[in-house]
């Protein structure tokens, strides 16, 4: 119960903070976008600062980690494939750059502890292990999964391939 309350308090704190970011404000960008936009789209536009990078990293990571398909796929996986999710991120950043004046790029959110790239990498690995069989990944030529295996398993796969 204490744990539950603690979690709830943490969450309410988080909610309270995000609340201030979705208020509608006038859109200062005059390029065919909406006249009023969520505050976060405006505050994260313009010249990149560490604070902006930090806030973008935090909110986008949070959103991306929760993003799910409308229906689970045939393996029961509720998440998008990493390639789809990465494509969505690129599309998002393209729109934020073109229509909301963001200078932050996807590349701005990698290469540091807790970065979007690092956290998504961890999530993708966990999801692959949970929902996708090794055989299927190899069949689909998604060899990145090999990096997550032990040297013993990699050696076993190589041995099987040679035997074939």
């Amino acid at each position: 119960m204490v744990f539950y309350l603690l979690q709830t308090n943490i969450h309410i704190d988080l909610v309270d903070r995000y609340d201030k970011l979705v208020e509608l404000v006038n859109n200062p960008i005059r390029s065919g976008g909406p006249r009023r936009v969520a505050k976060i789209l405006v505050v994260l536009s313009g010249i990149i600062t560490d604070d902006k990078r930090h806030l973008a990293n935090k909110t986008i990571t949070h959103w991306q980690s929760e993003l799910k398909r409308e229906r689970p796929d045939e393996n029961g996986c509720p998440y998008f494939a990493p390639s789809s999710q990465n494509q969505k991120l690129r599309t998002l950043f393209s729109a934020l750059t073109k229509f909301h004046g963001w200078h932050l790029k996807l590349d701005s959110l990698k290469g540091f502890d807790g970065s979007l790239a690092e956290q998504l990498g961890t999530l993708y690995k966990e999801r692959s292990e949970k929902y996708v069989s090794l055989a299927r990944l190899i069949m689909m030529k998604d060899y990145n999964i090999l990096y997550t295996l032990t040297s013993y398993h990699r050696a076993a796969i190589l041995w099987c391939a040679k035997e074939e």
């Binding site: 709830t8 309410i12 995000y18 976060i40 604070d51 990571t61 599309t91």
Partner: protein, 75 residues
């Protein structure tokens, strides 16, 4: 308890010493003092259209944060 099921979990977004309130306040001051800076950051490429997929994703991002707002009303 049922309400908790739909709560977005705060995975890997633990707070450090970042002060959002102060940050937003600072930005507001900067915006007031030099409003053209943010406006000037926009693209001059007005021929590009804001397509459906782009709108959907930006909306999804904002809606996610907005959903968090909903939960404080419940909680």
């Amino acid at each position: 308890m049922a309400l908790i099921v739909n709560e977005p979990t705060a995975v890997s977004t633990t707070d450090d010493d970042f002060d959002l309130e102060a940050f937003i306040h600072e930005l507001e001051v900067v915006e007031e003092e030099s409003g053209c800076q943010v406006a000037g950051a926009g693209t001059s490429d007005t021929s590009s259209r804001y397509n459906t997929q782009q709108k959907k994703l930006v909306q999804s991002y904002v809606d996610f944060l907005g959903k968090c707002r909903l939960f404080i009303a419940i909680g």
